[in-house]
Symmetry: C2
Subunit: 360 residues, 2 copies
């Protein structure tokens, strides 16, 4: 094992490749199921920022876990399992949101629907795509657990981290349900958007991974509490950056169509602030321009540009940028209070900047 | 704790109610998510034969696990987790199969779609039903794991049973994918139907639960192998009985519409043998009558009766009945070879008869 401190993403990918090979072995004789497993493997190994295992790894290191040796290998397997969890979340979210592409490729339900259509199979291609993507996501969720629970670590370490593992899985599902519900009831308040951010991104992407890694290394309650505060603020800032990219991002860099969040009617804080500010200042033209773009499946470039201009004009973009800056500062201040071991503290500072200033 | 030997289903239901209360606590403040949890609770506690925990319990008892005391309570929690796994499988299967009702009530995706429509929410009710049922199933799968992994048993016992827990989850998903795939490619061979039976029912419903329970109690390889043979034969026989009920069952007893398996185009051994025998004996009228009923969403009583008569006439029904009898006999013979502790052996004999001679 090379040093995961130097390239945690690469170390995670090696773990995933090894695990997927082991997990696939017992079902290799179930012919067609191989297609589903292949889809999962391609999805898993075909990209992604490995953000959750990265936070979890630095949680482990920051709480004093070693960088190499048997224990480190065990921790690496446990934190890599977060990527399988994330695969389930993405595959099922893409189905729920009816998204066509991810990371520049067809989403899983679209890929299986196309395969069905190309081969002239019986029944409705879309229903086949639905079935396949539900099951591929389920396999990812089940295997996430297998990968975590069989990590070669003392049972006491896995048990200490399990509350965070459990909370993370329930919270991301609660956040996703809340997201779908918020869109259905048309709740466009900034409060609703923030609650979804806290569950779907802050807790799931940063707080719980950090705590999980730290708990594996035996962190005390004080350190776990500081990681919660740091993680919350960085996680929300990360999501707000994501929201800006969802409207203003370059498709060539993000791998998603321009303005996809608007097209899908995603209830972001950016959108909520845009509508609220336009309304409160009586700027009807801007309010209409923003509202018209939301949920418009055939959103034209002209309408997208109009919505972008309106979001800037009412100050929603600068308000979100300001919030990102404040939360990043607060997160970094929390970090300075702790006795986090180096190089974890330095790396978390770098991650905080990278996650909140990125372009993809 | 009353004696679970006397009423294992009731003991499992108590465990589930307690666990659901504990698991819900941390997300009680995520308002709307309560709707999803309530749906899961109603689904979990609103019926079901508790077949998998029952087999697992008798595996535990047969391998020498005690009926009462702390260890028994731990085993009871672990085996009850199988019902949460089953909830995921059913909720997702109902979505995949577009089934409207289960146990005489709306399926989860239908119930949420109706709620959406009744409240006049935004967007498409069906898409909301899809989203909610994907997430409710995911919660069930995640919580199944939480319930299993936190069972108060020695870590060595949980680790000994984990390979069976893992195999069970992968196999049921593989079986479900194979099922969907078999229908899509129109593979109506008896071999394909049997492979699905082996994965979806024999392994998942009987073999793995039995082995899991036995392994929790420290069963040796010999006992685990006998349980595999018994479980395979009883499991397939159970599925074949289910297939007969899916075509000939009384809706008032099964809780599903008459002839639902035909309507849904389910590729059962009964159907495969019916078509194969009609073809091989040149009985064109019977072949047409059977084929016409398959996948007919608007299947009339007259057409259903014609398909039933044809399945009987070509001998498919008696062939399936004969297979059920033979496999039940083989299963019982396997059981006689073991040193299974009483009352487990007696109870498994009773279960073997009940599962293969039932009417619902």
């Amino acid at each position: 094992m090379s040093d995961p401190d130097a390239n945690i993403a690469a170390a995670v990918e090696r773990q995933l490749a090894l695990f997927l090979e082991r997990a696939t072995e017992p079902v290799r004789d179930v012919g067609p199921f191989g297609e589903a497993i292949d889809a999962l493997s391609r999805f898993m190994l075909g990209g992604g920022k490995r953000l959750r295992p990265t936070f979890a790894w630095w949680g482990w290191r920051g709480a004093g876990g070693p960088a190499t040796g048997d224990e480190a290998a065990g921790a690496l397997q446990a934190v890599s399992a977060l990527e399988l969890l994330q695969a389930c979340a993405l595959v099922h979210d893409d189905l729920i949101d009816a998204s066509d592409s991810r990371r520049g490729a067809d989403t899983v339900h679209v890929a299986f629907a196309k395969r069905h259509a190309e081969r002239g199979w019986l029944g409705d291609p879309e229903r086949f795509g639905l079935a396949a993507s539900v099951l591929v996501g389920d396999v990812a969720l089940a295997w996430a657990e297998d990968m975590y629970a069989t990590a070669p670590l003392p049972a006491t370490a896995l048990a200490a981290a399990r509350p965070f593992w459990q909370a993370m899985r329930t919270e991301v599902l609660a956040g996703q349900y809340l997201d779908v519900h918020t869109q259905a009831v048309g709740d466009s308040s900034p409060e609703a958007a923030m609650r979804v951010n806290e569950l779907k991104t802050a807790a799931y992407t940063v707080v719980r991974p950090l705590q999980l890694g730290a708990a594996l290394a035996g962190a005390d309650d004080e350190l776990l509490a500081v990681l919660r505060r740091f993680g919350h603020d960085i996680g929300v800032a990360f999501q707000l950056r994501d929201d800006l990219l969802g409207v203003f991002g370059d498709p060539a860099v993000t791998g998603k169509p321009a303005g996809d969040d608007l097209r899908e009617g995603k209830r972001t804080l950016l959108l909520a602030l845009g509508l609220e500010r336009a309304r409160e200042s009586g700027r009807d033209a801007e309010e209409r321009a923003i509202a018209a773009a939301v949920d418009d499946a055939w959103l034209s470039d002209a309408r997208l540009d109009a919505a972008r201009d309106a979001l800037r004009a009412v100050g929603a973009v600068s308000a979100v940028e300001q919030r990102i800056g404040e939360m990043t500062e607060a997160a970094l201040a929390a970090l300075r209070e702790t006795s986090l071991a180096e190089p974890a503290r330095d790396e978390l500072v770098k991650l905080a900047h990278a996650a909140t200033k990125r372009s993809a």
